[in-house]
Symmetry: C2
DNA sequence: GGTTAGCAGTCAAACACGTTGAGTGCTAAC
DNA sequence: GTTAGCACTCAACGTGTTTGACTGCTAACC
């Protein structure tokens, strides 16, 4: 059933008021603040109708109304006005990304931090290990007698490195030779190619066989390894009155500090949408039910960079959150692709 | 004034009981649990004496006794029995350090995590940028047309890297030549040497002047840059009843997430002791006063690795904490120096 | 002198109760 | 369809009251 325009308007006011104040909204406050041409009794009957439809509920008979999960969903999809970020906020985002755009780790951390700061919510991030990422540059660098650093630069121009053990008899010359071969073999290939291809290292590799096997392992590791999870602004959750309860806080923290659970929260169920809003975390055990997660996946030139998002009370400022996620994504993608 | 043996014994029991239970200890519970050959009235008069001396206090007249800051100090310096870690715990520590002993960042994180896990407290770490650290290996590695990675291996065999911008006309050959010069100039030198020495790059450096200046800047940066701060187990604080109060939690979080404040908390006031115990964080503004910090500085071969510690309620298990810090340090230093 | 039993005193915590006021639903009139 | 008026509900708050876990004190005892 389609809601009348007035019902929509009232529902929108209730949700946005409640998001702002965290207090059940009463018919009186609505007529005083927004609907000055209506009496509270009229609004009351509309509210009763909306409650009948499942969009509102009362904590107790003599309290105002609180939005239901369905109301939030409708609010996000239909009723909400997306925020515009202020010039200051946009400048702040840009400033953050001016430095350190080489180190993946740094970029992710900074991104998560910006998002957390601007939304006043705890932010989450998982790095994507995109199989279709192409290798642009690869090289071994000996840093101690029995160890070398494998440095990989990909499409997105972000650095990755890992340590490779060397056998004792690996001379510097042979590392140089190995580097030539490495370049020939892997530059221009995607991680997927490498995983699928079955390298049979013939006699020309004789001298480097063990090193090459380790390099291939390391490359495969980038794809199969469990994703990195970053958490920023854990303290932000304390600002929200719904988490004044210690038990809820504990639940929240215990989920948010567990890698696999976070990955689960940020998954977008295969749907290919830019911004993913999960209202009410039903189905996520251990999670307090009045939690929402809003996430976005960023990519550069078709290669996924990672998924970023925020987690907080269902009563969060979706307009602002969506605006922040969109803008951070836009700016980040811009900077990374124009290097 | 020196305490009688019995007073010491009773004070020790009160502190350890309170640490365990978080409940003011009564004369009755002491005679029931530990001092079965004394009556509660006797203990009561001893408690009254200890209160007179400033070691104990009562939350209210009809409550048991709670240790004062002075009592904790005496407990740590004189009365406490240091814990022995279980075989399982020792194995757990060793296992953690088996991998990733090359990447500084990883080592620090893991160390902080182990400490947090074993003590059930929030752990803090600051990396030391020790001026006296010697450079073992240094090399530039081009990873994109206008950028190179500067890789430095030090005495402690831990990797450090930073990105150096390259001018457009820097050929690969010239990078190779620069690397030869870099090695000649910096290997065997300490960061201190480099900071103090005034490099006047004569005509033989003509081609690399700009790169060298950048490298020198990067090297100096390692020393002057503000230290990295790591935080682990922030959620652990929720387990302690003294932080059931939201305001305290906020204060705690706001300090613990601020770099400069953490560095301050972990500073050892120039005193050259292995384990530093700060009981009651008086003088640290914004910090709830009933906080303690226990920290230790780890080093390998005379080079400081960093300072690690825990922060939590004054009522923490000092015996356990000290044992964990000592053992983690021993094992870490061992592993790193025997590579 | 140190130790103990007994007893009066204190006070937080828990519970019950009354009051208040912000909110509602319903109804009758406009 | 809208509104004023009124009875009703119930969380929040403040005020007793009771309970029991402590203590300090005192007088007797070893």
């Amino acid at each position: 059933m389609e809601l009348s325009d007035r019902k929509k308007k009232i529902l929108q006011l209730v949700v946005s008021d409640y998001i702002e104040t965290a207090v059940p909204v009463s018919s009186k406050s609505l007529t005083e603040k927004h609907l000055t041409n209506l009496s509270s009794a009229t609004v009351r009957s509309e509210l009763a109708a909306l409650e009948e439809l499942g969009y509102l509920s009362q904590p107790h008979t003599s309290a105002g109304r609180v939005p239901s999960i369905d109301a939030y969903k409708l609010y996000v999809s239909d009723l909400m006005v997306k925020d515009n970020l202020s010039v200051n906020e946009l400048e702040y985002i840009k400033k953050i990304f001016l430095e350190n755009t080489n180190d993946v780790e740094q970029v992710i951390k900074q991104t998560a931090k910006v998002i957390s700061e601007l939304t006043s919510l705890t932010s989450l991030a998982v790095t994507s290990h995109d199989e279709s990422e192409k290798i642009n540059n690869i090289k071994l660098f000996r840093f101690k007698p029995d160890g070398a650093l494998l440095i990989i630069v990909t499409d997105t121009k972000l650095l990755k490195d890992s340590v490779i053990e060397l056998s004792q008899d690996m001379s510097d010359d042979r590392i140089d030779e190995a580097n030539v071969l490495l370049e020939r073999m892997f530059v221009g290939k995607t991680f997927k190619d490498i995983c699928n291809y079955n390298y049979n290292l013939d006699e020309s590799f004789e001298n480097y066989k063990s090193v090459f096997l380790k390099v291939i392992d390391a490359l495969k590791d980038y794809v199969t390894t469990t994703d990195d999870v970053i958490l920023e602004g854990q303290d932000k959750i304390l600002q929200h009155p719904e988490y004044a309860d210690l038990e809820k806080l504990k639940k929240f923290m215990s989920v948010v500090t567990k890698k696999d659970k976070v990955i689960n929260l940020l998954s977008n169920d295969g749907r290919d949408i830019k911004i993913n809003v999960k209202i009410g975390t039903e189905g996520y055990e251990e999670m307090p039910s009045d939690c929402s997660v809003v996430s976005a996946t960023y990519s550069v030139g078709g290669v996924k960079l990672g998924t970023y998002g925020v987690i907080g009370p269902v009563r969060m400022d979706y307009g602002k959150v969506v605006a922040v996620l969109e803008n951070v994504g836009k700016i980040l993608e811009n900077i990374l692709s124009n290097r």
